[in-house]
């Protein structure tokens, strides 16, 4: 049993951010030793709690340190990256013999529909609150944000189509083709999720990724108090507030436009 408990702790440790993992495992292993010695608490249940602790650390780390210094911060680079992936997929399927019959449209729509259904069931589709204000940009600028989202989706769909072409070339009834279609479905859902998440973390004016995350308020005392992660557009267009604990009065992320008086900063 002792081996199993240590295996549980090691499995939970995989969830902990790497820089904290060694110390975390040392603490839990030490406490497990005492739990087994004293016999006051159920050692198995004690080990199960390690997963909750590890998940909390993982979630906390991902919220505090989003990958803001990414190469994908620029919207054009982001689209270029997706286009590059599509081009790579097309190059990969070039040597593959073409399918004897064209892919029926219903197969494409079926895959898209299933991906959308899974997305609806597993992902928050809201992109947040962007309240109108005097500092809000023109309609044309605001439309750019939607065009950018549509372009990302279109490039993801193009990747899906390339994958379907590959699956079709393998033949309808082969096991590899079936596995490929399943993988394509999962990949599409993940790609759409990423597209939405990426869209939420971008400035609605310049479309660059927001940076400088800062925790406002205390997570341990969130009741009726402002408690969120604050991100800022480095070009001074505004600030984004993401609730750490979504509540009825602060459920979705909220954008605040900054007026021209901030431009000097």
């Amino acid at each position: 049993m002792k081996i199993l408990r240590h295996a549980m702790l090691r499995a939970a440790a995989r969830l902990v951010p790497s820089q904290e993992r060694a110390e975390w495992l040392e603490e839990w292993s030490a406490e497990l030793w005492y739990a087994q010695q004293s016999g006051v608490v159920d050692a198995d249940r004690f080990c199960l709690g390690a997963f909750q602790d590890a998940l909390w650390l993982r979630r906390h780390a991902s919220q505090r340190a989003p990958r803001t210094a990414s190469w994908l911060a620029s919207p054009s680079r982001c689209l270029l990256f997706l286009a590059g992936l599509d081009a790579a997929a097309l190059l990969a399927i070039l040597p593959v013999p073409r399918p004897s019959a064209p892919i029926p449209l219903r197969a494409i729509f079926l895959l898209m529909g299933m991906a959308c259904l899974i997305l609806l069931a597993t992902t928050r589709l809201s992109l947040g609150d962007y309240p109108a204000s005097r500092s809000a940009p023109s309609l044309a600028t605001r439309m750019r944000r939607w065009i950018f989202l549509a372009a990302k989706m279109a490039l993801i769909l193009a990747g899906m189509y390339a994958g379907l072409l590959l699956a079709a070339s393998l033949g309808e009834k082969t096991r590899t083709a079936a596995v490929l279609v399943d993988a394509l479905l999962c990949g599409s859902v993940l790609a759409f999720r990423w597209a939405l998440h990426d869209q939420r973390r971008r400035c609605p004016v310049c479309l660059r990724l927001l940076t400088n995350p800062l925790t406002v308020g205390q997570r341990a005392s969130w009741f009726l108090e402002w408690n969120c992660i604050e991100l800022v557009c480095l070009r001074g267009h505004g600030m984004l507030y993401i609730p750490e604990n979504p509540t009825s009065w602060f459920g979705a992320q909220r954008w605040q436009y900054l007026d021209s008086s901030w431009s000097g900063l």
Binding site: E31, Q52, H60, Q218
Partner: protein, 107 residues
């Protein structure tokens, strides 16, 4: 949730953990034993409290642990802000103090 006399607010779980730490139960396991809370609740709550500056953690000396032929433990103590928060919560909720009397010497 508890709203105290000051501006600081705590969850019941956090208040119980602060009370346990104030009473001298400085290890996660002993906090579990005292409060009856499971490990999956106690440890994440302590991480939050530490992040918010109400408690701080420290590893005991390896030489002491080696002398006792046991693994070194990480212990937690109240910070000044944590003590003030605990006192405020005890004034508002006297029953909290009955959970465990806080050590006279403090932490």
């Amino acid at each position: 949730m508890i709203r105290m006399a000051g501006e600081t607010k705590l969850s019941h779980t956090a208040a119980m953990i602060l009370q346990a730490l104030g009473a001298g139960h400085v290890y996660g396991l002993s906090v579990m034993e005292m409060t009856g809370l499971p490990s999956g609740t106690v440890y994440p709550a302590m991480r939050r409290l530490e992040r918010d500056g109400l408690i701080r953690s420290q590893w005991e000396s390896q030489s002491i642990a080696d002398a006792g032929k046991r693994p070194a433990r990480k212990y937690y103590r109240l910070t000044r802000a944590g003590k003030a928060t605990l006192e405020a919560s005890q004034k508002r909720y006297p029953l909290l103090a009955k959970l465990a009397p806080v050590a006279e010497t403090g932490q």
